[in-house]
């Protein structure tokens, strides 16, 4: 039997890798890839707490499904913004998108 700790450590490691990607990548699409890894780590936590807690309470799995919906919405809007910015500025490098900086 696998103890709960293994899943939680896997999720923490995946979250930290995603956080690293969000903080250091220059390309806006690569930043969104890091966000996806972080959302998946959260989902592993939700599903493992469902399995190791009360399995008849479905809240953990329902939350995971709602996170899927929110992730799909986030990716659709994020990539639309990146494509729109690319059309106007011809760049997707996050450092060069400084129109809102004084």
């Amino acid at each position: 039997m696998i103890p709960l700790s293994w899943y939680l450590i896997l999720a923490a490691a995946l979250f930290s890798i995603g956080l690293f990607g969000v903080l250091v990548r220059r390309n806006a699409i690569a930043i969104l890839l890091g966000v996806e890894l972080m959302l998946n780590a959260v989902n592993i936590n939700l599903v493992s707490f469902w399995r190791y807690g009360d399995v008849t309470a479905m809240a953990g799995q329902v939350f995971a499904i709602i996170v899927f919906a929110v992730a799909a919405a986030e990716v659709a809007v994020g990539l639309a913004l990146v494509i729109s910015v690319y059309r106007r500025r011809n760049t997707v490098i996050a450092d060069e998108l400084d129109m809102m900086k004084w």
Binding site: M1, N27, Q61, Y86
Partner: protein
Amino acid sequence: MTGEQIIFLITAGFTLGSGLMVVTARNLVHAALWLVSALFGVAVTYALLNANFIAVVQIVVYIGAIAILFIFAVMLTRRDMRESGPQMNKNWWSGAILAALVFAGLAFLLQGWGGFSKTASAFPSGFDAVGELGEALVSPDAFVLPFEVASVLLLAALVGAVYLAFNKK
């Protein structure tokens, strides 16, 4: 060591290795393909947790829709991929330190928690997890309101995405 534990360790190593490739690959198409393999590893983890429906949704929605959307976005911004220049900003080491600190802090907090090395109890006999999940999603005493709000959010986000990416000229 049981067979289940060996499968878990292989899956975890595969997922974390693919995740590291996602954040370090120079070529963005390769990063998106490594994301597909990391998402597949997460789907295997869900299957190990007996969450069959979530595992299938992970493959259909994440790999089938979200990862493909990423690959399309990478190709639509292809002229600007700049594989020659640096892919990480100059403060990458402070990002690495911060990520390592977050991992160490989470591990420290978790090992101090009482339920950390809990093992899973067996399913009650005749328990149908997928049927229970379906009922929980549409039952008025459970999660029908969050479920409907999530669908409205998805609709609004997709209309917004079409509006944002629409070429007005």
